[in-house]
Amino acid sequence: MATDFWASSHYKRWNIDRATVKLARSQDLQYVDDPEYLDFLSIFFANLIGKLGKKLGLRQRVIATAIVFFRRFYVKNSYCETDPFVVIAACCYVAAKAEESPIHIKNVVTEARLIFSSEEIGVKTFPSDNHKLAEMEFYLVADLDCDLVVFHPYRTLMSLCGKEGQITIREAEAGEMGTGIDDGPRYWGTGEGKLELQEGAVQLAWFIINDTYRSDLCLLYPPHLIAIAALYLTVVLHATTHNQLHGPPSSQGSQSQTHSSKIAPRRSSRPTNSSLKRHTQQDIVTFLAGLNVNMSLIATIAQEIISMYTLWERYKEDPSDTSARNTFSASQFPSTSNTLPSAPVSGRAGMMRSGSVFSGGTATSSAGTPSTGEDLSGSQHRLGQLPQLVKPAVMTPLFLTQVLLRMREAKMVDMGMVVGGMRPMAYDKRLERAQAAG
């Protein structure tokens, strides 16, 4: 049944384990200078899909579906053997159709060319021919095994704390949940009751879910668990909701202390439970416990979300993103906010659609490393001659594009495409790294 997750293609064929995900990158690992780049590429590509999707007027759920398609495609393929930019465009194009909000192929080509060839990304090779994209669509659908119905955490979030169809996520994604003609039953747990959260908190959870697509979480875990993990993080992070758990707001110092203890690795659920005893209106802990899901799994997912944010800290793109990571960087990691000067970029704060609930959403990443951009652009010109790209402190799209290009070239060299090249024919970065490490 199309609404029964447990009978869906999503659950039966595309909920895959970590080993499979890892295996999927094994060829890329051979050709990448630093394995970490692959994680940044993962963020970079998801952001690009989001960007292209927004430009095409796609809803968040369509964008999410496109990203899932993209990740599923790369479970079977390697970055270095394909052109991720064409794949990105095809994913948006197919996702729009799969989610019943089709867009014209010409628009996809036009917008994709515009975005990809921008100075920020610097990919000028995107084909202007519609047929090329349509051809990619064909291969994409085949590689997806024609499984085009994707489940997302948004629905769980809304069925847990929304008012089904009447929820007002005012600024950002109003109407996202559709017109609510038909409400499906919750496909797990008791299906009873709603979590009463403030609107700002629901919105924060929504944004956290958006952000999870920057990692492989959507391949690894069922969407309802991701939603609950996002809710769990929201309860911890959202200031007013958090205060609600603790009764009257405590002093600033003890606040940040509880934050850090709660978010510390491998201790996520225990200390939380003990500290959440006091509550005012609804017992959120009891509610979450009553969901009858594996809470240690939820803790694991929450950890992974936090790891993703940590990584993302070191990635810099344009300042207009509406993610929840600002909440993380500003209020969540005491180490970050202490060491880095808290220098709010006014433009960024102004453009945040998340409103006042995010206390002091600052761009810590850019503030911390102001000069890397220049360093990087300098290094790119010398790219051809360098044995390795100089790893910048902060990743940028332009740098990652270069990483990708080099992987592709290395792969080509390996395939014997170039006779008499300067590199040895066998080109295995893993070997190189092992040697370097002694």
């Binding site: 049944m1 199309a2 609404t3 029964d4 009978a7 293609s9 759920r61 369509v62 393929n77 053997e81 394909t82 052109d83 064409v86 194009y93 197919v94 159709k97 799969a98 989610e99 019943e100 909000s101 089709p102 192929i105 090779t125 519609n130 047929h131 994209l133 349509a134 051809e135 990619m136 669509e137 064909f138 291969y139 659908v141 085949a142 590689d143 095994d145 024609c146 499984d147 085009l148 119905v149 629905r155 996202e176 559709g178 017109t179 609510g180 003609i181 038909d182 409400d183 499906g184 051809g384 592709r408 070239e409 080509m412 060299v413 395939m415 495409m417 170039v418 090249g421 300067m422 590199r423």
Partner: protein, 430 residues
């Protein structure tokens, strides 16, 4: 470093190796199936009968979507929304009374959907009784067909799928007398749609089976449109002709949907003109004023039922009457319909709809034509040059023109153009 030349080539087409890899691994239709003949065609493409080359040698129906053409050259221009829908939904569902998708093959710019094979369909049964036997469909068969149809529909509705194109040609029956709902090309998931349903497809459901709320221009509709179509199908099984056989008003040049006066008239003549008392939402219908200008009629449904053998009981009339409620909210759901007392009356429905029938009463096997089939199938696995593809494409056009002229070649199933003189109209937009 790479030479500028090869680097350039790779830059131009970074997907070259990927495609080569996929193309060589691809299982081809011709490698897996022997095409036995042509079944039917429609706007979407054509359907063939094929035997699997696996040891079981099962028979399948292969639906080939029409490849996109620019002139004579077959190119990629994007998979149609209808194909995406049909593929996406079929991959998720599995029910005895819904045609099962075995696999999808993508080859030479065409999409092939391999379905389980069904020997008969409702339209064929109707024709067999009206043309050959010249007798009614027995109450037992009619009831069994209806029950199984509703059972499949209940599954789809529970899965939040509205079929939106139920009609006799789309409802298949296997050799074993099991009903299979087919053709999900117009079907939609209704759970949390990002756009209202009407935004995607301006016109849904073949005109004779289209529910009054759609004819009156409703912007929101639901599963009840399928139930209306079931009512029409049941009535057609009982009387061997469409109950509301209206003329479709065509879309104007701006693709505005016209007022379907004739179709509504045909409905009112049997069911009477609806009023606000029966249907509270009536006055909010966009075409309400147009409707008001029509003559008024009283219901004749009871009389209609009493003159049809299989529905001529109190329960039979009540059943059809409940399927034909004007107010979509008052119309029976698939579940309620299955629980209707009519199914408790003897004769009761049977798992094999043809149970106990003498052989001659079972409609003949699907007609399979040979002539134009070979040219339509992909060339043998040897590399097909573009020259050959071009030839195939022009043959395709010729073959289709021929099929349309001959008309009767199709048994009408899989949502095809109709057989035996009917013109089955289906408008697809968007």
């Amino acid at each position: 470093m790479l030479s500028a030349e090869s680097s350039n080539m790779f830059m131009q087409d970074p997907m070259r190796f990927y495609r080569a890899k996929r193309d060589s691994a691809r299982r081809r239709v011709g490698d897996k199936y022997t095409i036995l003949g042509f079944i039917s065609s429609g706007t979407y493409g054509r359907v063939y009968q094929a035997r699997s080359k696996e040891e079981d040698g099962q028979i399948h129906a292969i639906k080939k979507f029409k490849p996109d053409k620019e002139g004579d050259v077959v190119t990629y221009t994007g998979i149609s929304q209808s194909a995406i829908r049909e593929i996406a939904l079929n991959r998720e569902i599995s029910h005895e009374n819904v045609v099962a998708l075995k696999e999808v093959l993508l080859e030479d710019k065409s999409i092939y959907m391999v379905f389980e094979y069904a020997e008969h369909d409702f339209l064929q049964v109707i024709h067999h009784h009206s043309q050959t036997l010249r007798s009614n469909i027995s109450t037992s068969v009619l009831k069994s067909l209806t029950y199984q149809l509703l059972n499949g529909l209940l599954y789809l509705h529970n899965a939040h799928i509205i079929h939106r194109d139920l009609k006799p040609a789309n409802i298949l029956i296997t050799h074993q007398g099991v009903v299979k709902i087919g053709d999900l090309g117009l079907a939609r998931l209704t759970q949390e749609p990002l756009q209202p349903l009407f935004a995607g497809d301006k016109v849904v459901v073949t005109i004779w089976y289209r529910a009054p709320e759609l004819l009156l221009g409703a912007k929101h509709y639901n599963k009840a449109v399928d139930i209306w179509a079931v009512g029409c199908v049941v009535a057609e099984l009982a009387s061997l002709r469409p109950i509301f056989k209206g003329e479709e008003a065509k879309l104007d040049s701006k693709k505005n949907v016209p007022f379907q006066k004739d179709q509504l008239l045909k409905i009112f003549e049997v069911l009477g003109t609806p009023n606000e008392h029966d249907w509270e939402g009536l006055k909010n219908m966009p075409e309400y004023q147009n409707m008001k200008r029509m003559d008024t009629y009283n219901t004749q449904l009871h009389k209609w039922c009493m003159s049809r053998q299989s529905l001529a009981t109190a329960q039979g009339f009540d059943f059809l009457n409940q399927l034909f409620k004007y107010d979509p909210d008052q119309r029976l759901s698939a579940k309620e319909a299955l629980q209707h007392q009519w199914f408790q009356e003897t004769p009761k429905p049977t798992a094999n709809a043809f149970h106990g029938l003498p052989q001659h009463q079972i409609p003949p096997n699907r007609r399979i034509t040979q002539d134009d089939a070979p040219s339509m199938m992909p060339l043998p696995a040897v590399a097909a040059t573009s020259q050959l593809q071009t030839t195939a494409a022009s043959q395709l056009q010729a073959a289709q023109a021929q099929a349309q002229l001959s008309g009767k070649g199709s048994a009408g199933s899989f949502g095809s153009v109709g057989g035996a003189g009917h013109t089955r109209k289906k408008a697809r937009l968007g």
